[in-house]
């Protein structure tokens, strides 16, 4: 009975690489070390609603077709479209992302990742102010103050705290949790907040006010801080500023509470500025809590291929980038896209109604291992292998460390990379024939 050690969990941005998997008859029968999300992923392989065969929507129903027919139908949609949106590519390998970018370039499409509804504003913030970061290993070994701002790792990244942050023991942090101060800033008392030494409850949407007040305190301008900011007393703000200033090494982990709330990318911009202020006194870094296991990888591959991390428009024949104009939600809400190819993401579930309403009107190609809300509005559906379980490949952890995912079991399904290659070949064929 083969036991595979150090398998990688391809679910969240923690990309845990210490999973032990037992395989019997090409089935995963036992998993050790994974959290509830990871466990559901590995076990789900054999229980969830797998898309078994390629399908095309005919008379309102998805009907099975041979693979070649689905590829041909998809390629025709791409060739006939004047403004294709290619979206997702985050729960897949960097190798597939590279091919997706090539396909977008060859079809003059606009390509965007799930960062559009996640840490897209953090990328903008990094472009404005930089992003002073560190690897999770450094946090584990050195951080004595850990702040979770607008994120809830107990639910979203369940092993983050035990492997890399609050609870982990490292080279200079031998006491583990006892030696670290954990601060949680959130709008409601989450399960993560319940574990904190200090919970700061902030009024929803006023993150930038608190960041600005903290910066004033850190920079010695206490006098300009009002008695309460963002629902928090001046005293508490000064105390938090002191905690950060006096830390030997602090890290602010931030999540959707920061990127999706009012002021969006200006919040991340403010966090980067606060980190830079703190570095006049101590050592401080910041890391975005990335959701999809390889959304960071999309940013890496897109940046080395095109110069931009997301929202890249190839319609001019060269990469053009202007999130807010070229973001996936923007082109859908403006009803500009006339076709979409979606892989390894689920905008049907995760985009607001106006964007989904437009998606439902245009031809949609979906490449995914599992049926989901996007399948309900898709016109061509192509099943894919599960990367990290049925296919190997590279992914980038939330701290931009590349990790090689193993193939654990065999499959008949094609990989996202292979499907995209087949689409490129077919698109070229159709274009030459035209």
């Amino acid at each position: 009975m083969p036991v595979i050690k150090d398998a990688v969990c391809s679910l969240c941005g923690s990309l845990c690489d210490d999973i032990t998997v037992t395989v019997e008859d090409n089935k995963i029968t036992k998993i050790e070390n994974a959290c509830i999300l990871g466990h559901s992923k590995f076990v789900g392989m054999f229980e969830h609603d797998r898309i078994e065969t390629p399908m095309i929507r005919k008379d309102g129903e998805l009907v099975p077709v041979p693979y070649e027919e689905a590829i041909e139908a998809a390629a025709k949609i791409l060739v006939n479209s004047r403004r294709t949106l290619s979206y997702g590519w985050c729960s897949t390998s960097c190798e597939a992302i590279g091919k997706a970018i090539q396909l977008a370039e060859e079809t003059g499409s606009l390509i965007d990742s799930t960062a559009n509804v996640c840490h897209g504003p953090s990328a903008l913030a990094a472009q404005e102010k930089g992003s002073p970061g560190a690897s999770l290993g450094v946090i584990k070994n050195r951080a004595d103050v850990i702040v979770f701002w607008g994120c809830n790792p107990v639910h979203a990244h369940p092993r983050h705290m035990s492997r890399y942050s609050s609870f982990s023991k490292g080279l200079f942090s031998t006491k583990g949790r006892k030696g670290r101060k954990m601060v949680v800033i959130d709008v409601r008392k989450t399960d993560t907040a319940k574990l904190a030494d200090k919970y700061v409850e902030i009024e929803q949407g006023s993150d930038l006010l608190l960041i600005t007040a903290l910066r004033s305190a850190v920079n010695g301008h206490e006098d300009v801080i009002p008695e309460t900011v963002a629902g928090i007393s001046k005293e508490e703000i000064l105390e938090l500023a002191e905690t950060l200033k006096n830390a030997q090494f602090s890290c602010i982990f931030f999540g959707m509470g920061v990127t999706q709330s009012r002021s969006k990318y200006k919040n991340g911009d403010g966090v980067s500025s606060l980190i830079s202020d703190l570095n006049q006194h101590s050592k401080a870094v910041t890391i975005g809590m990335r959701g999809h296991y390889n959304v960071t990888g999309f940013g890496q591959v897109a940046t080395w291929e095109t110069g931009f991390p997301m929202a890249i428009d190839f319609s001019r024949g060269f990469p053009y980038y202007n999130p807010g104009e070229t973001g996936a939600n923007d082109v859908l809400v403006r009803e500009e896209a006339d076709a979409a190819i979606i892989s390894a993401a689920d905008p049907g579930a995760h985009f607001p109604q106006k964007a989904v309403r437009h998606l439902a009107k245009i031809p949609v190609i979906q490449i995914d291992p599992y049926a989901n809300p996007t399948t309900e509005i898709a016109d061509v559906v192509i099943p894919a292998a599960v990367v990290g379980i049925e296919a190997e490949g590279t992914a980038y952890r939330m701290d931009a460390i590349p990790i090689r995912m193993k193939k654990l079991i065999d499959t008949e399904f094609k990989t996202d990379e292979q499907i995209t290659k087949d689409l490129i070949t077919k698109v070229r064929e159709l274009k030459e024939g035209a």
Partner: protein
């Protein structure tokens, strides 16, 4: 009685565990609810499991009521997913990101039941 609430959406472990099982009942259970604190639920006269209608400038959705006393007064939470997205703000304010947190909403009790995932999505095809 209508309660004015500030609506946010977000990940929960249960929603995350059904990321690849969205056609299942478990996903519905993990996403088709709205959390308010018990005092707010009392104001609406509903208990956990009753239906709530959540309306914003962008649409309305029926979900189950759930109590979470970690929520301050007037803060409503619906897990990320197609139910929440029926009522969230599509405007990106020119930076790409829609308004997925901090949407003004009105919440009231209702006798209607939440739609399952497929019925909810079918509405988009029929629109």
């Amino acid at each position: 009685m209508k309660l004015k609430a500030n609506l946010i959406s977000g990940r929960t472990a249960d929603q995350g565990a059904h990321l690849e099982a969205k056609t299942y009942r478990g996903y519905f259970d993990a996403c088709a609810y709205c959390e308010l604190n018990s005092a707010d639920l009392d104001k609406l006269g509903v208990s956990e499991g009753n239906s709530l209608k959540v309306a914003t400038d962008f649409g309305e959705v029926v979900v189950f009521a759930k109590a979470n006393d970690g929520n301050p007064d007037g803060l409503a939470f619906i897990p990320m997913g197609p139910w929440a997205n029926t009522v969230l703000d599509p405007d990106t304010h020119g930076c790409g990101m829609p308004g997925l947190k901090g949407v003004p909403s009105e919440i009231e009790a209702t006798e209607e039941k939440p739609l399952d995932m497929k019925s909810l999505m079918k509405q988009y095809r029929e629109d």
